[in-house]
Point group: D2
């Protein structure tokens, strides 16, 4: 192998350090332990990058994949936490950046009949690490029902409602369950969603939504207020996007907590 030239290792004289270099769009099986203590198998899309000092021509892309593979055929959450340190070591870097996206499933009972069904939520772990510090952001995308307060107030009957999605990113003091982030968001919507609803359940969620109208503005404020009241959440950014049932465009709102980043 020594006869093969190592182009990446050659010196570079452009005097330009690179902020991030690595791999993207790599799919990998992962295992997540949920609050019910069960392990669920799911599939992640992974991006990994490090910085590159100005004096090197290139990074060694295969080492990123080796670091990932070293944890066996399925990546656990503990493995994910170890990867930044391993990348810094293996690639002799100062900064590592990892993004892991995956669908997460929760079994939920329907509100009246109690029939259970699986709901899926997209989750993102984003990790920035140096040898001294690690910054961890967890993001959950929670689909919800939103019913328009204005439409309800001005209409003789009915009110437009729709599916919306809340994108809730947090930094925390101590680890937080994905389930708890989902639950915090769902408690602020006109109604949460279910995969399985029988007629008594459909009646219940319809009436619950009608009784709890929220604008995207209300939704992000309520998530923000509940986050402010939760001492474990140090920072958050909450976005709500409604796939309006009366328009072909979306309504959007966002609040980001000032401070709390480091």
């Amino acid at each position: 192998m020594q006869e093969l030239k190592d182009t990446q290792n050659e010196p570079d004289d452009r005097n330009l350090p690179i902020d991030r270099v690595g791999v993207k769009a790599l799919r990998f099986p992962v295992e997540i332990k949920d609050k019910a203590n069960a392990v669920q198998g799911t599939v992640a899309t992974v991006a990994m990058a490090v910085d590159l000092p100005h004096q090197y021509k290139g990074t060694h892309m295969s080492r990123f994949v080796e670091v990932l593979n070293a944890h066996g055929p399925q990546l656990g959450v503990r493995d994910m936490s170890a990867i930044p340190g391993e990348l810094l070591e293996r690639l002799d870097a100062e900064k590592a950046h990892i993004v892991i996206d995956f669908p997460f499933f929760l079994s939920k009972p329907a509100p009246e009949t109690g029939e259970r069904g699986l709901m899926d939520y997209q989750v993102r772990f984003e990790i920035d690490a140096t040898r001294e510090e690690i910054d961890f952001v967890v993001t959950v995308e929670v689909p919800v029902t939103t019913l328009c307060p204005c439409s309800k107030a001005i209409s003789a009957r009915g009110a437009h409602n729709q599916r919306g999605v809340v994108t809730f990113a947090v930094r925390f003091e101590k680890p937080i369950w994905i389930e708890d982030l989902v639950q915090l968001v769902e408690s602020c919507a006109s109604s949460e969603l279910y995969s399985l609803l029988k007629r008594p359940d459909e009646k219940a969620v319809t009436e619950r939504a009608y009784d709890n109208p929220v604008f995207v503005e209300d939704l992000v404020r309520d998530v923000a207020a509940k986050s402010d009241a939760q001492p474990d959440i140090r920072w958050y950014r909450v976005e709500a996007e409604n796939f309006e049932s009366i328009h072909n465009h979306n309504a959007y709102a966002m609040i980001e907590k000032k401070g709390g980043v480091c």
Copy 2:
């Protein structure tokens, strides 16, 4: 140029004719004349293919792009109709297949205030041609409001509703305006969508939707019934998909007219 080997033109002995070969995902500006006689500039994604007899190794991909370019910097609907014949000629083929997708805009007045706004609809032209015959399918994707009849019937107040999309493909006896296909679909929904609604308009569409509940099943049946009653429409396939506001999955229905293809 003669010294450059023409690999595509070499004989092939695998004895396997190719059904379709060509280019895909090419973006190109187009001009569509609308019913109001105005010309709107929009952007298409184009796919073009021909058959290849068993004795040739390859087609000449650049000729597809030349045929497209020959019509100048913007493609009109008349140009689109000419392309299949030009491909057959230029590529010495028996069959040509062209798909052109583009967003189309309609200015609509809001139902009460009359304020105008632009709605966008995705349109597809799909053309299959031989030297003797041409088959033309026009498809419009029409976003609509659907309000659930079951939810309305069983709930003490409100009813879940959502954005849905109707995909309506037709073959016709004589050319049909995109506007008329859109209007046919919109007349079957709980409500049509608008880009601009003031409060009196929002009240009107909310109440209209509540007064006209439709399942996806009703929607495809009503579009089918109106199409059956329209002598210019020879064939249709109508699909409805609801982005359910109470689920994280979609409801779907489809009717395809038997016969009428040739």
Copy 3:
């Protein structure tokens, strides 16, 4: 529950049977047993539909989800095969249509160093069933390297190459491993892909691709020829799409075997 009106069950007088009605875009965890006899957990996107006779107003959407859920928290391949029959029964239908899409992982050794890495392939099971017959189509999407024969023939050095994807759908006489379909396609490309390649491996795949140039036309013909020679494959449709490195559009070819459908 009896007091809640069953709107779906009401008679319908439009005299229009519905070809397909059901749910779409439902995500669900699945378990696939692979050829190495290991079970891999992955995540599927599921669509399920049945026909609806003209005399009924609507189907019962929650029953589709109940049929899915009845198989427990993770769906196996045997469960998938049972679903069509269960839908026919539970929804009192004549025809069922199920589509299940999921990523599938294969561990592959690099060609020279033998270092192993996981490759992902998108797989689709599509099942059409009546009470008498079942039609099963398996589709694999195999990403490959393609190197252009024309570019190689006319250029003094190098040849343009790129990632392409082969979409290979089959009907079979007896069950076929996904691994074997993948391997059949990969053997026809300029080179197969790997997630992990060290320098000696990169040299090997670069030279292998340069030594095996293929047009999209060659690729679909070679997959077709190998399928014709495989008695277990009764029908196939093979499509190749190259994300051309010299264009911003794609090259495309398709062969579909005539006959063999029933």
Copy 4:
């Protein structure tokens, strides 16, 4: 109209100002004047938002669309620049945020035959404005050919290459043509892309790419170096992503200029 309650205008006591509230995913026809002084019609996707003080319950979503519509059926670049100020005025806000994405077309002659074809580039205008200041970021996505220096160095023949995309965002001292940003990026790639290449052209781009191998690291460094040398560019972020022809994942690099933001 006065009898309809203005829910949005009600007081809010949660004491939480909202960073951004508005509309997203609105499609609208736009007209861009290009360097050749021709006007091209294309289609944009628009997002518009403002801040909302803590004391108001909601914004008035329809006003965003009215501001957009006020410029007539097609939006020009001059109109785009006016929108932030109009939003601040109309919505009585302190901060406005607008994002406009559209495909932009350039006619390019093939390198040897001079045959012309249209290349498409995705462009984004992102504007942040207060009553005192305006911040304008232009981003172009430029698809390119990249040929791997390592693969070339270690292989006896050939070298893997692929389509990549460079995402180049800039802040500038004085307005810059989209064409010049595209050209700056294309001059750093192994080869630029074309929609139309005849055989002599294909030979030329194949050999040019082979003679100019670049890693993603080289590509972002060369774009950074050229930007540093261009006094009109005050800030930039350049990202390169290769759709590797030998992997099913992508290679990625990014450099962001420190400072220059305000």
